[in-house]
Amino acid sequence: MPKTKTPDELSYEQAFQELEGLVASLESGDLPLEESLKLFERGRLLASRCSQLLEQAELRLRQLAPDDQGELTEADFELEE
């Protein structure tokens, strides 16, 4: 089994998808207790991670611009209001 990432390392999409899968396997309901508890704890952390990402997210605006070498990169960008 691959080493599972801690929820803090996951993107919103990854965390949410894992959370949904986990709820589904808990709902199927025939897991041993220890496994269930492990899943529940993991699910709790995933849900917190999702909420945290949603609450803290700030829209980042970047723009494509050439750097010193003339290579295109993403640079910060401010909107003129």
Partner: protein, 409 residues
Amino acid sequence: MSQLTLFGVEPRIWSVSDLNRYIRQSLEGDYRLQGMWVAGEVSNLSRPGSGHVYFTLKDAEASLRCVMWRSEAIRQRFLPREGDGVEVYGRISVYEAGGQYQLYADAIRLAGEGLAFQEFLRLKARLEAEGLFDPARKRSLPAWPARIGVVTSPSGAALRDVAQVLRRRFRLADIILAPTPVQGPEAPAGIVRALEKLNRVCRPDVILMVRGGGSLEDLAAFNDEAVARAVAASAAPVVSGVGHETDFTIVDFVADARAPTPSAAAVAATPDQTQLQQRVNLARRSLARNLARCLEDLRADVGRKQLALRMLSPQARVAGARQRIDLWMQRSQTAMRARLSLQQTALQGLVQTLRAVGPESVLARGFAVVFEAERGAVVRSRRNVRGGLKLSIRVQDGAFPAVASEPGE
């Protein structure tokens, strides 16, 4: 006058109203005059407070009075200025009060837009025949775009609209702007380049191609064949949001999704963060509920097992053994008691026998027993008795002393 009365019939005298109405009805009865494009130059333009637009259309040799009612005027993307070469669509009728026939205009466009529109239709038909608008080609948009590319002008209102919508709706994404002019002669090539760079350098999950409203000419870049082909070739799915609700461009047909405005394009490409939060909360509650149920099941299971265990435990066997011991004890006690009472009965029998064979009963019959008073021995023979020997004579009810007299013989 003589001619008119030639047949002795008075000629019909028309009222002006009747005549004007007749002329109006005649003109309105000619289908060719009831839906037509007229080209000319705008002059005598006026737009009074009523909102209706009055102007004269003229060419080198003639002029035509035109009116566009307010209800039509407000629907126009373009209203002409003095001197503009325009094409006007409308119908011919008569303003009876003024005795003026005029063109009642429904639509107006700059001269040449008609050509552009023909070109638009031709290109659309060609690309459609190639299958570029095929619904099967259209890719679905990602549920959670982490990187949203935007192809538009860095200073346009479209970009601000998109940023505003996303700030409210989905702040998880990075917006990457690929700046390009979106109108003018450089626009088509600029848009193609921006799209290509965005796909190559940033690999966005979805691309918004947006521009605010404008005239058909302003939106020309989005009807450009090269731009349409670049959209079709884009690695990331493209959402178009060009112009206002009613504007359709070639890019709208090629794009994977078409939104009526830039703001709507931003909405179409992203989930609503509030709803995402609700789904997370739902999952969280479902987790807790499942765990509770799981624990409840396990608790019930444990209860059942405990019961089963109790039945099987050595304690139960010990208790059983103890009970058996009690039983044995009881039985042995009963047996013992029975034996005892049996023996008692036997004993009593013996005592009675004893009594029967003992001296008491003999004494009761009147015999006596003689003891030597000092030695306590029973006197069995006269040879043991000398005169003066103290004796104790035992009869049924006790003993009394006696002294032996001198033996005679």
